[in-house]
């Protein structure tokens, strides 16, 4: 059963956004300028057709500006599409907007304005619960559960102006959870957070929202390891289009090499990287220093096709870098993303 089905969904932005403080007189001037010289149209979301099954954790990855946020906004009716159709929770996106709006909840990146500053944290949760039609006792029970689960008890009485980024983010997640809608959309839920809080949030999303709650979660992120770890299926966005959409293991099998050679070297310096890369004609090269002082590093070459460890080894040794070990590692979603996007660019 598909909770979301989109077909050829498109959103086009025309020209620059208007500046703040523009009066209608200047708006007329801008309009005249636009009639004189048509600005470029840019398709921020370009013919996207994806399906999201019920109860799955769907990941959306892509670079900034690839259309992730706009896609989520389209599905939650914050922005209207220019072409295409979609069905969300059984309601048509264009014709049954209010029904769609009632059945989804979206959490913005950063969680900035999700809470009312006039109410305390717990009161915010209760307010949202009551707005969604829960009874007083049920609302209180849910709110306490959220506070305990997200480790927010100490901030339950505080107001949103005094919270840190991590607490803001968690409160906005908690509000999504309380709403209990069939579809939950999260825009970069762990982007500005430290590892402790990020892990807590990931556990919460996986356990409470997706597994136990049974809600369908669409999550946009640009941490590929997060998408790899958490999501049932992942859609890779690039310049408004979906390059691939499947579960991480299938994507890895289809788009990345079976294994990637990883070289452990010593005596390596960052400045050598460019030279070696160019001389071998590699598209990219990832260095991971174990010990900058001694130059012990892990090198992962990245390119599509079959890598040749021997050429690599001789190029390194020519630069007086000792190759300690060559290991084969499994590709990650990072390799998939890299391969798909670089192919698109070149």
């Amino acid at each position: 059963m598909n909770v979301v089905e989109t077909e050829n969904l498109t959103k086009i932005y025309r020209g620059n956004q208007p500046d703040d403080g523009r009066s209608w007189g200047d708006a007329l001037v801008d309009l005249a300028k636009r009639a004189w010289r048509r600005p470029e149209e840019k398709a921020v979301v370009d013919g996207v057709s994806v399906d999201v099954r019920a109860g799955e954790l769907f990941g959306i990855v892509g670079s900034n500006g690839a259309g992730k946020t706009t896609f989520l906004k389209l599905l939650s009716c914050l922005v209207y599409p220019d072409h295409g159709q979609a069905v969300v929770n059984g309601y048509d996106l264009v014709r049954q907007r209010s029904a769609v709006r009632r059945s989804v909840v979206i959490a913005k990146a950063g969680g900035w304005m999700s809470c009312l500053w006039q109410l305390s944290g717990r009161e915010n949760l209760l307010f949202r619960a009551r707005m969604c039609g829960l009874s007083g006792k049920e609302a209180a029970r849910r709110a306490d559960y959220v506070l305990e689960r997200l480790e927010l008890e100490h901030q339950a009485g505080g107001h949103s102006w005094s919270w840190s980024a991590g607490e803001l983010q968690r409160f906005s997640l908690g509000l999504c959870f309380i709403a209990r809608t069939p579809l939950v959309m999260l825009d970069e839920p762990t982007s500005h957070l430290d590892p402790h809080v990020a892990r807590l949030i990931r556990e919460f999303i996986r356990e409470d929202l997706s597994r136990e709650g049974g809600q369908t979660v669409m999550m946009s992120t640009h941490y590929l390891e997060e998408a790899d770890q958490l999501c049932d299926r992942v859609a890779i966005f690039f310049k408004g289009r979906v390059l691939a959409c499947d579960s991480p293991s299938v994507l890895r099998a289809r788009y990345a090499a079976d294994s990637i050679p990883e070289l452990w070297v010593s005596g390596y310096r960052a400045s050598l990287g460019e030279q070696i890369r160019k001389s071998l004609g590699l598209a990219e090269w990832i260095e991971h220093f174990e010990d900058v002082a001694s130059g012990r590093a892990r090198l992962r070459p990245k390119w599509g096709g079959h890598p040749e460890p021997d050429r690599l080894r001789s190029a390194l040794e020519a630069q007086c870098v000792t190759v300690l070990e060559v290991r084969d590692v499994e590709p990650t979603l990072d390799d998939v993303y890299f391969r798909l996007c670089r192919e698109k660019v070149t």
Binding site: D19, G21, R22, S23, G25, D26, L28, V29
Partner: protein, 297 residues
């Protein structure tokens, strides 16, 4: 890219000047970004100009200002022009500081080698630039269309002797108001001191009508604000020291009324400017200690 350790010497005077100039350029480009809005707002100034020029046509005989060849037009337009300038100097630092506070511009400005005086000038210069344009509109418009007579008996040096202390006094008050923002952690809203000074000054400084017209019970207020002396002194500097009858209190004092105006302004400036600067710097140090320099700090 190599580092240049020899570049670590404080900014020269020329570089500081260039920094202030770039603030002016920035404010100009921001002002004129929306050309239609800006023209519309200038219309407000033109509206004032027209109103008073039309009032002048009533044939008001200004016995007080017998020396002004243009009559009421001369009187009121010079008053308007200087009042615009002084108000901009009064509110400039405060508004500039509030805007920098909320946009976090303060963080970058204070972490750059710009020194505090340059920083303050940079904050306040925006409003002043706007005021200069408005003054040009008033005087030019008056001269071209409404029989404003350029003063020929005026002495530029004397005029500056009035203008500079006046600006200094008013900027001192403005700095004090801006310093209050940090001292008391106020982050917006209407500054009561500035509001009071502005309102009072527009009523009693002799901008639209000579002080003698006000009811005697209220006339004592006129002598408190520096704008009164500034506007009176400026008219005398432009049109002649005795072009107007002196305000009642001053007429009792010996010596030329112009001289008295200048002396009072100098005293005001000597008191207000250092005081304002102290308040401002004190406020900034407090904010720096408390971590309140900007919205995000």
């Amino acid at each position: 890219m190599s580092i240049d350790q020899t570049a670590i010497r404080p900014l020269t005077g020329r570089q500081q000047q260039a920094a202030v100039w770039v603030f002016i350029k920035r404010d100009l480009s921001l002002l004129t970004r929306f050309k239609v809005s800006y023209l519309t707002s200038l219309m407000g100034t033109v509206q004032q100009l027209v109103i008073y020029a039309m009032i002048a046509r009533f044939g008001l005989s200004l016995s007080v200002a017998h020396g002004l060849t243009g009559g009421y037009v001369d009187f009121v337009l010079t008053g308007l022009a200087l009042n615009t300038l002084l108000t901009a100097a009064l509110t400039g630092p405060y508004l500039g500081l509030i805007e920098s506070f909320w946009s976090n511009r303060i963080e970058i400005l204070l972490a750059s080698p710009l020194r505090l005086p340059g920083f303050v000038i940079g904050l306040s210069v925006g409003k002043l630039v706007d005021a200069v344009i408005q003054v040009a509109v008033i005087l030019l418009g008056g001269w071209l269309f409404f029989d404003f007579v350029w003063p020929d008996g005026g002495n530029a040096l004397v005029f500056l002797a009035v203008l500079i202390p006046a600006l200094a006094a008013v900027i001192g008050l403005g700095l004090a108001a801006a310093g209050m923002v940090y001292l008391l952690d106020a982050r917006g809203g209407q500054d009561p001191v500035q509001f009071a000074v502005q309102t009072i000054s527009s009523l009693v400084a002799g901008v639209y009508f000579p002080i003698q017209v006000l009811p005697a019970a209220v006339q004592w207020l006129c002598y408190l604000v520096p704008q009164t002396y500034a506007i009176d002194g400026m008219r005398r500097a432009l049109f002649g020291a005795h072009a107007l009858a002196p305000p009642p209190l001053i007429s009792h004092l010996p010596g030329s009324p112009l001289l008295i105006d200048v002396l009072v302004l100098l005293a005001y400036a000597a008191a207000a400017l250092p005081l304002g600067w102290l308040v401002f710097r004190n406020g900034m140090e407090r904010a720096r200690a408390d971590g309140r320099l900007s919205r995000w700090l």
